[in-house]
């Protein structure tokens, strides 16, 4: 890849008169030695998996193996239908994000974006916006390359796993990726897309990873729902002309600083936060009983 930072990415795009997605497709083909067509087809397959996960999460039983979570996406979707949700159309993105995360928690097929714990945000934003604007799958696939370019910069300058940098690194990164990609999909230029990333990331700095029972369920699933909504908000701000006063590359450095200082108990170990509340501990005890039961 010829870029390491978002400002370099935006400059390359400006110099070569390409969108972030189109540039990333070319870079990917150069890196892998495969044809752009083959790489595009692989990403298009991934998008099909994402759409399928949305559909399954809205129609199938998503009760998780632990029994802790499931069917909240269907609750939200039904509520969106029968009333006028506060979020308006953003409520759909929230329902879709919950749907994919619940499919993940119930051992369904998803695409890690960038991880399984944050796999609902990009599909939630992408699939709901595709339906709303009537975009083609090809347009969405370029959007995934754009999201991947942003994630590539975040991952290589900071981190994308909760064990290393807390939830800000997983859910936070996914929101930044979705926000920047959506800005481009809606016609924003690469500079605006990069501002969307910074605006979004600032909102999740410091978020800890405290999964109850160590599972990718509570609070991961609802954070994916909230994350989709935040990504829409960040894209709206960027498209309106709001700029990230602290450049996005510097915000990524802050994520690294904050994550590195985060105590281990708040980095996916279930040793603190929500996992160690009285209820969180009781759930963990029940899970141990499940593990020791024959057949599990």
């Amino acid at each position: 890849m010829r870029f390491r930072h978002l400002n370099e990415l935006a400059k390359l795009c400006a110099d070569e008169q390409l969108g972030i997605g189109a540039l990333m497709l070319a870079e990917q083909a150069a890196e892998s030695g495969q044809s752009p067509e083959a790489e595009f087809a692989k990403m298009a397959d991934y998008y099909a998996v994402m759409k399928d996960a949305v559909r399954r999460g809205l129609t199938e039983d998503t009760t998780s193996r632990s029994g802790l979570t499931g069917l909240d996406a269907q609750r939200v979707a039904a509520y969106n239908e029968r009333s006028s949700p506060n979020l308006g159309i953003a409520g759909e993105a929230m329902a879709y994000a919950l749907a994919v995360s619940e499919v993940n928690a119930s051992m369904g097929r998803i695409i890690a974006t960038p991880t399984a714990g944050s796999c609902g945000i990009i599909p939630g934003v992408f699939v709901s916006c595709q339906e709303r604007f009537g975009w083609s799958d090809e347009h969405m696939t370029y959007g995934l390359f754009a999201a991947g370019a942003i994630g590539y910069v975040i991952a290589n300058n900071s981190f994308v796993s909760g064990a290393e940098g807390g939830c800000q690194a997983e859910v936070g990164s996914a929101i930044g990726m979705a926000a920047g990609a959506l800005t481009e999909l809606q016609g924003g230029n690469p500079a605006q897309a990069v501002h969307a990333v910074g605006l979004a990331l600032k909102n999740t700095l410091g978020l800890i990873c405290d999964p109850v029972g160590g599972l990718v369920e509570v609070p991961c699933i609802v954070r994916n729902g909230f994350g989709a909504v935040t990504a829409l908000a960040a894209a709206d701000m960027a498209l309106a002309g709001v700029r990230s006063a602290i450049p996005s590359d510097e915000v990524i450095q802050v994520m690294l600083e904050v994550g590195s200082a985060m105590p281990e108990k708040h980095r996916e170990t279930a040793g603190g936060g929500l996992a160690q509340t009285p209820t969180g501990k009781a759930i963990l005890r029940n899970l141990s009983a499940l593990r020791n039961r024959p057949g599990n």
């Binding site: 990333m24 397959d45 991934y46 695409i111 399984a116 991947g148 590539y152 290589n156 990718v216």
Partner: protein, 250 residues
């Protein structure tokens, strides 16, 4: 750069719920299956650390067995993998390991084939579905399974590695990473080579002619060269031994 391409960020396609505890476990199991080079009749799995603490909720157990059945990380049959394996007559045991382990997410997998051959591998799941196999039959190794990988058991003699790499040069195959370990001087040795290109039968036949080589296994869980259509689940049917293994005597 720790993350090399767009699909290390968008991807892998996988069955949930955890890229490290589910997808990574499946890839460890699948690597072990390829190391055995045959369908196992017995699988003994020891989980350490976070794997031991949370394997039930994360489906680490079904994922690792799914891998042992040669399923990719996104195979929809993973949740039922233990049942499917038992239907095929595989004897399965899980244990929670004590003592030292190299990483919070570690599994030790011992597989035995119908012919009585066995392989023991230790794998660590380091995040985002990425793994490292750190031990094979007591040899220290470092193998990511991102690339097609040659696992060559041989005798520790001068020139063996030159013979192997010479053969790869003939095949125009580029080495990305290589690790070598031996049990003792002039004793058993193991060379693990990650390649940028597909491992062909021709390459294996040529390597098989090298006298000091005892056996060769191919670990290729990249799905890059098999054109597997991701959205369809192929019929259940473990691959035959010939696909992953070649012995020099043949």
């Amino acid at each position: 750069m720790r993350f090399k391409d767009v699909f290390s960020i968008i991807g892998p396609a996988m069955v949930g719920p955890s890229s490290s505890h589910t997808a990574g476990a499946a890839r460890i199991g699948r690597s072990a299956r390829h190391l055995l080079g045959a369908a196992p009749v017995k699988a003994d799995v020891v989980f350490y650390g976070s794997f031991a603490a949370t394997y039930a909720g994360h489906g680490t157990d079904v994922a690792i067995i799914g891998g042992i059945l040669d399923f990719s990380t996104d195979d929809a049959r993973i949740p039922d993998a233990i049942l499917l394996a038992e239907e095929l007559g595989m004897e399965i045991s899980f244990r929670e390991g004590k003592g030292l382990y190299p990483h919070p997410n570690t599994a030790r997998v011992k597989l035995t084939s119908e012919a009585g051959e066995s392989i023991e591998a230790v794998g660590t799941s380091i995040g985002g579905g990425n793994i490292e196999i750190v031990e094979i039959n007591g040899f220290r190794v470092k193998m990511t399974a991102i690339y097609p990988t040659l696992v060559i058991f041989h005798t520790d003699l001068p020139g063996v590695i030159a013979d192997i790499t010479g053969e790869l040069k003939e095949e125009h195959s580029n080495i990305g990473y290589m690790s070598v370990d031996r049990k003792s001087r002039s004793g058993d040795a193991l060379t693990v080579i990650e390649l940028d290109t597909e491992i062909t039968t021709d390459m294996l036949n040529q390597l098989g002619d090298i006298e000091a080589i005892q056996s060769i296994r191919v670990v290729d869980i990249t799905d890059r060269f098999s054109a597997v259509k991701k959205l369809q689940s192929p019929e259940l049917g473990p691959k035959g031994a010939d696909e992953n293994e070649i012995s020099p005597s043949e």
